[in-house]
Amino acid sequence: MLPWNYGLHWTLGTMVFLGAFYTVLVVVATTLVSAVVRSRRSLRAGGADGLRWRSDFHDLAARDRACRHQLTGELECRECPNGFDCRQCDTHRAILEQRPAPEPGARSVEDFGMTFPLDRLYHRGHTWVRRERNGTVTVGLDDLGRVLVGKPDSVDLPRKGHRLRLHATAWRMRKGRAGLSVVSPVAGIVVETGGPDQPWYLKVRPEQADLRHLLEGIEVRPWLAREMERLQRALMAAGAAPQPVDGQATLASLAASCPEECREAVCGAMFLRP
């Protein structure tokens, strides 16, 4: 098929045949190469985080992908089509317009032995976000997260000036043999880092002020109830002793019942980072 081989009869058939064969080879090769090139480009552009979140979100059981408004009962049944990013969600906007303004009074939600102050917004990966005067936001781990993890052995926080992406890994923690990573609730530049010893982990200058994708006010309680069920399922799947689901079970007792070896699985499930 190439020169330098003796005894080959070149015919029209040969040319057509080999032509077709090599076209196929070229097509396959170019496709492969382009795939490689494109993936390198999107790696540079940090597309990995988006993809990671998308596949993780896709891996969530259908009921865990339930829309926030299904939790509040504003909607009958809805699966979130946007990967928990409600900023482009028209349904969300529409419902918010009808929603009555929150009556003042309740400062925080207390349930299952946890306190969820309502001065802040919550991400479904169990982080909270508080708007500060200076336009930055403070990011921390909510009660459920804190109790689950307890005191981490080590925390690997992003450097100051690091650019956080929404739903990318905000920071990592180690507890025993379990490596945990926390989903970032906002996108922005890290301006200051705290840690487990402080009440917060990160101060971030957000890229956009719009934080509509985070839970707030009346949504917190039903979400919390859901999360407790989810936690119990996670524990059971991880092979922990089944808990009485009578609402009396406190988070502490649940957390205590979580065997060391399956902490990673349980926390991963709760932090939406399997």
Binding site: L8, V27, S39, L43, A61
Partner: protein, 406 residues
């Protein structure tokens, strides 16, 4: 302990049970590899093939598994080119099956030739008149394509995809899968066809020789059609089998329904053309070559009954698969699919083994052939390897995306 590798949201049997299952097939594979090794080291005298039975069990195996493996390319064709979305539920499984079948065929061919080290000569001194050249080129290309198609399934594994590079590459590859599906279809069409041509061109074997349409004998097209018809049936069959083994539904019933219908329609087309071809062959081709059709079936055990069984094995499943009432019932659907698969296997058997067994000269004698244990072992190695690959893929990769929803 290997839970973190198993896709989320699906239940799999315990690791120990899985390992026992693997061990079972690994043992078979080991035996098979030993036999194959014997054939490679000692030479083909280890087989019971001879100068009259130049081809034996292995070629029959190749033709059959490749016909069954056609499910891979054809499902891909239906899903990506013809946009039959419901087939998304089985495409991954189909790809793995295709990979097993084509890989197995390739491996066996490597043992079957007398000088495997010279296999590349075909690429070097290709004789474009030879169907085998076409086969070699197509099978090697298509195997590459299948590997590429298999790659995303692997990379999507829960642990692997935590490596960002894999994650991204998988995503990009999956975006381009249409190209591979297209190329794969093209290649596989030709491969199936040239496998048919393999025997159809044998002017010296009137039992196999067929009239030419264009540059190819009719068997070229009949093989494509029969493979396309039976491929979906085989996917259906395997999916059903896996469901039974896993003791849970893996795909929506609609998938079975649709696979069955497609299979039925194509079978109908095949039966029609095959009938025409058979008549032309018996009334025109054979007399022209100076033979009498009666001769073909004069030899026990290859009596005329073989022809009728073959016809029945295509007609009956066709009927079942075309009647919606019956098709809807698994008790009918699955046996029908199984029959179709047996039909295509018998068709390949007749074309390979009976062709070689029949004498051509007036003083020839009818030669019997039974594979040696080395041949059978090599055959089993392919089966075992297939089962192993499939089992591992089923446990750690997402072969049936809809499984979680069911």
């Amino acid at each position: 302990m290997d839970r973190r590798f198993i896709p989320t949201g699906v239940a799999r049997c315990s690791t120990s049970r899985f390992l026992m299952w693997l061990a079972l097939w690994a043992a078979l594979l080991a035996f098979g590899l030993y036999s194959a090794g014997l054939c490679l080291v000692e030479g083909l005298n280890q087989t019971h093939m001879n100068n009259r039975f130049a081809f034996g069990l292995w070629i029959f195996l190749d033709l059959t598994v490749i016909a069954l493996g056609a499910g891979a390319f054809f499902t891909g064709f239906l899903l990506y080119i013809l946009k039959r979305k419901e087939l998304r539920g089985v495409i991954n499984s189909a790809v793995v099956i295709g990979l097993m079948c084509y890989g197995g065929a390739m491996a066996v061919l490597g043992v079957d030739v007398g000088q495997p080290l010279r296999a590349w000569f075909t690429f070097w001194y290709p004789n474009v008149h030879s169907m085998l050249t076409e086969v070699t080129f197509c099978i090697s290309c298509y195997l590459t394509v299948l590997l590429i198609e298999y790659l995303p399934i692997v990379l999507k594994n829960r642990k692997l995809r935590q490596v960002p590079h894999f994650l991204v590459f998988e995503h990009e590859l999956h975006n381009l899968v249409y190209v591979f599906a297209g190329v794969g279809t093209f290649l596989s069409f030709f491969h199936q066809g040239s496998l048919g041509g393999l025997y159809g061109v044998l002017r010296g074997r009137p039992f196999a020789f067929r009239e030419e349409l264009g540059i190819w004998p009719t068997t070229f097209f009949l093989f494509i059609l029969s493979a396309a018809a039976v491929g979906p049936s085989f996917i259906l069959l395997t999916t059903w089998l896996v469901q039974k083994l896993a003791r849970k539904p893996l795909v929506r019933p609609a998938v079975f329904e649709s696979l069955g219908r497609i299979s039925g329609l194509l079978l109908a087309a095949y039966v029609l053309l095959k009938t025409v071809d058979t008549i032309v062959w018996l009334r025109r081709t054979t007399p022209r070559s100076g033979f009498l059709p009666a001769q073909y079936y004069a030899w026990k055990p290859f009596g005329i009954w073989l022809l009728f069984v073959e016809i029945a094995l295509f007609l009956v499943p066709m009927a079942i698969l075309l009647i919606p009432k019956l098709r809807a019932r698994t008790a009918w659907l699955v046996p029908a699919a199984a029959m179709a698969c047996c039909g295509v296997a018998l068709n390949r058997f007749v074309l390979t083994i009976q062709t070689l067994a029949l004498p051509t000269l007036s003083f020839d004698r009818f030669v019997y052939y039974l594979p040696s244990w080395q041949e059978t072992g090599t055959f089993l190695a392919v089966v075992a390897a297939g089962v192993l690959v499939y089992s591992i893929s089923f446990r750690y990769f997402v072969l049936f995306p809809e499984e979680r929803e069911l």
